[in-house]
């Protein structure tokens, strides 16, 4: 009898708790703490992902902040990209997100559909100076009428080559797609590869194939509104292009890459470090980690490849990184002040340099320019991109589920499981259905 009562009690308790959980899901504006107009003593958590160059620079910037504002302590939470999205999602869903976060452009779609997923930075205008931004740049962080995030830098994915290996085998840095294909045979003689593309979290293999087709057709793969712009035939052209890169020894096949590197990222691969792989497609804001691992050689920013008739369109640009403040923060004033420091403080800008790409904020840009720190391959790549006619990358393009579809199609084509025709039909259907579901 007693046991049965206990069982009833536990069942009722569990069910009530689950309903409490469900009713507490979702975000409302009432839960948010409003700014109180003063900076109090507190500890804030700040998280970011990146390579060692970004970690070192950011930790130094935090040191500077701690000297200037000893009462507001910053706790750094940082790591590599792999698994970062999942980690942050877990924190956000458990209401334990850091106060200030580095986020990705596409996360706003899922994490803040109605603008309530992050703190509305419009409420912190007393602390955050937005005068260094164009309205267009600010608009990337808007959800509904709320400013959820601020763009750190605008960046494109560009090609970077190991100039020492290129000189060693007397190869020219490619300027067109034709040059790139030609390099495959040349590098084959030396058992090296001029470039590498992956089907990991970055999905760079599909990205380059899309650029190629966008340049050929003038279409955008996915529009800013989340419409699929490619036809099934366009997707087939992209997959054919990818296959031609493998067949012409421009890149390693998916299988060879897996056998040689396992599940490691390219910048951790012995094949990249020893120069067997002499090129990479990477965001200008993240290329530092590739530079850091090369001890006996160095990278140079490559050209944005064009067609034989000189057409260089189709390359893409996006707000490569953004800062947001958690909607659960207990210290909005202090978080706003720290965010302003990261974005506008001249000394901080000099310390951070181009570790997050070329700053989109004019104040930080000017500080770097006047101190002569606007240099390096990230800057060169950004300058080259400015000379093409880049399109803004759709925030839908990089959604995790879509990347999974791209990578699966590339992998099946590479392994010969599907023809490019079959894979393109499958990919077209998957992308179309998914976009319809989430728009």
């Amino acid at each position: 009898m007693k046991y049965s009562k206990f069982r009833k009690f536990t069942s009722l308790l569990s069910i009530s708790l689950s309903f409490i959980f469900i009713s507490s899901c979702g975000k409302t504006e009432e839960n948010k703490i409003l700014p109180d107009g003063s900076l109090d003593k507190c500890t804030l958590r700040f998280s970011w992902w990146g390579g060692d160059d970004r970690h070192d620079a950011t930790l130094k910037a935090i040191e500077l902040w701690n000297k200037k504002y000893p009462d507001i302590k910053i706790e750094a939470e940082y790591g590599g990209w792999d698994g970062w999205t999942e980690k942050l999602n877990t924190q956000i869903s458990g209401d334990t997100a850091p106060d200030i976060m580095q986020i990705n452009y596409d996360w706003l779609i899922n994490l803040s559909k109605d603008g309530l997923g992050f703190y509305d930075l419009n409420n912190l205008k007393d602390y955050i100076d937005l005068s260094g931004y164009d309205n267009e740049i600010l608009s990337f962080g808007m959800r509904e009428d709320k400013l959820n995030a601020i763009t750190i830098s605008m960046s494109g994915r560009g090609l970077f080559f190991n100039k020492d290996i290129y000189s060693e085998i007397d190869a020219e840095i490619p300027e067109s797609w034709k040059d790139l294909i030609y390099l495959g045979n040349k590098f084959k003689e030396y058992e090296k590869y001029p470039l590498d593309l992956d089907i990991q979290s970055g999905a760079s293999a599909w990205y380059l194939s899309v650029v190629y087709v966008q340049q050929m057709t003038g279409k955008q793969f996915i529009t800013m509104e989340g419409e699929l712009g490619f036809t099934s035939d366009d997707i087939k052209t992209a997959l054919d292009f990818y296959k031609s890169l493998e067949d012409n020894h421009v890149i390693r096949s998916v299988k060879t890459r897996a056998e040689q590197d396992g599940n490691s990222a390219l910048y951790q691969s012995p094949k990249f470090i020893d120069g067997t792989i002499a090129g990479v497609l990477e965001w200008g804001s993240a290329v530092g980690k590739y530079e850091n691992v090369l001890k006996n050689s160095s990278l140079v920013a490559g050209h944005y490849l064009k067609s034989s008739d000189g057409n260089s369109s189709g390359w893409m640009i996006k707000p490569s990184l953004m800062y947001a403040i958690s909607d659960d923060t207990k210290y909005p004033d202090e978080a706003g002040a720290f965010l302003d420091f990261l974005l506008n403080d001249e000394e901080c800008a000099e310390i951070l340099g181009t570790s997050r790409g070329i700053p989109a904020n004019r104040n930080a840009y000017n500080a770097l320019e006047s101190s002569g720190k606007l240099c390096g391959i990230s800057y060169d790549s950004s300058e080259y991109l400015g000379k093409t006619d880049p399109v803004t990358l759709s925030p839908y393009f990089e959604l995790s589920q879509l990347k999974e579809y791209y990578n699966t199609a590339i992998e099946k084509v590479s392994y010969g499981i599907l023809t490019t025709q079959e894979a393109s039909e499958e990919l077209f259907d998957n992308v179309k259905k998914y976009l319809e579901r989430i728009r």
């Binding site: 536990t10 569990s14 708790l17 469900i22 999942e86 803040s112 040689q260 590197d261 995790s400």
Partner: protein
């Protein structure tokens, strides 16, 4: 004369009320409710909803379950998980049993060897070890170098589905310590007289193994089988870190799919449904094993 029958009274420093026992087990009860029962019930309720992070769950009935059974990734993940269980469990039990037999011999310094063989079980859960393990199997890794040195052609471990699965299986087999300890204690419980009389009757090592050791270990084998099967069905860390589920999703387990659906694709309702299907499958298999081994165990 001194009264030796006097009952000695012990003082309980925490108190002697009828609630003392409850108070002492409270940390476990609270943890059990918050970390086991609560998520268990919530995930069941969520499996009937469409729910993403920062959203309010929307009740959709059995739609998640219907979608699951028409999802080719779901079937592939289940196939991969079954394949993994079949590759791992018998091998791990065999290796653990053989090692336990070896370590049950009474020679000097055996304690040292027992400790030595248990070390991988402690190290295996260390992320750094798992990552180091992954480097052993790359095309230029240590394993291929050894194979090359003994004249066996190199294997593209990561390039094909089954060899990639072996990388994970070998890691888990290497961590045989806990399974071995169960066998070792069961072997030590077998009465020595049985072996003595069998040897007097002329039985050799093989006969004593099959007619004495193995039958006497049936409960230990059963326990290890159940424990290892349940653990293997929930495998996540090793494929996540070593192969990332590749190639061609050939090492993509159900637990990885649950993780991706929750934290990568934000389909928490769908992931909850998937968790419950996995729970039911594991429970049914455990029941089947219980049922089919009942006669053997009771003999």
């Amino acid at each position: 004369m001194k009264n030796n029958n006097k009952i000695k009274k012990y003082h309980n420093p925490v108190g002697e009320s009828k609630y003392t026992g409850l108070f002492l087990v409270m940390p476990f009860i609270v943890g059990f409710f918050l970390l086991q029962i609560y998520p268990f019930v919530v995930s069941f309720v969520l499996s009937f909803t469409k729910f993403s992070i920062n959203d309010t769950p929307e009740f959709i009935g059995f739609k998640n379950f219907k979608m699951l059974f028409s999802d080719s990734d779901f079937w592939k993940a289940f196939f991969v998980t079954f394949k993994y269980v079949i590759m791992l469990v018998p091998l791990k039990i065999a290796v653990s049993l053989l090692t336990a037999l070896m370590l049950s011999t009474r020679i000097k310094g055996m304690g040292f060897f027992r400790t030595l063989y248990y070390i991988p079980s402690i190290l295996g859960s260390n992320i750094a070890i798992v990552i180091m393990w992954s480097f052993l199997f790359t095309s230029e890794g240590l394993v291929n170098q050894v194979l090359d040195a003994v004249g066996i052609s190199k294997i593209g471990w990561y390039g094909e589905e089954t060899p990639a699965m072996w990388i994970i299986v070998f890691l888990r087999v290497w961590e045989f310590g806990s399974t071995m300890i169960i066998f070792l204690s069961a072997i030590n419980d077998i009465p020595r007289e049985l072996y003595d009389s069998a040897r007097t009757d002329g039985a050799g090592n093989i006969k004593t193994f099959f007619y004495i050791t193995l039958p006497m270990l049936k409960n230990a084998i059963f326990l290890n089988l159940i424990l290892q099967m349940i653990t293997a069905f929930q495998e996540f860390n090793a494929p996540f870190l070593i192969t990332g589920g590749n190639p061609l999703k050939g090492t993509y387990t159900v637990a990885m799919m649950i993780y991706d659906e929750s934290f990568k694709y934000y389909n928490i309702g769908y992931a909850s449904a998937l968790s419950w299907v996995l729970f039911v499958v594991i429970s049914l298999l455990a029941l089947l094993i219980f049922k089919f081994t009942k006669k053997i165990r009771s003999d």
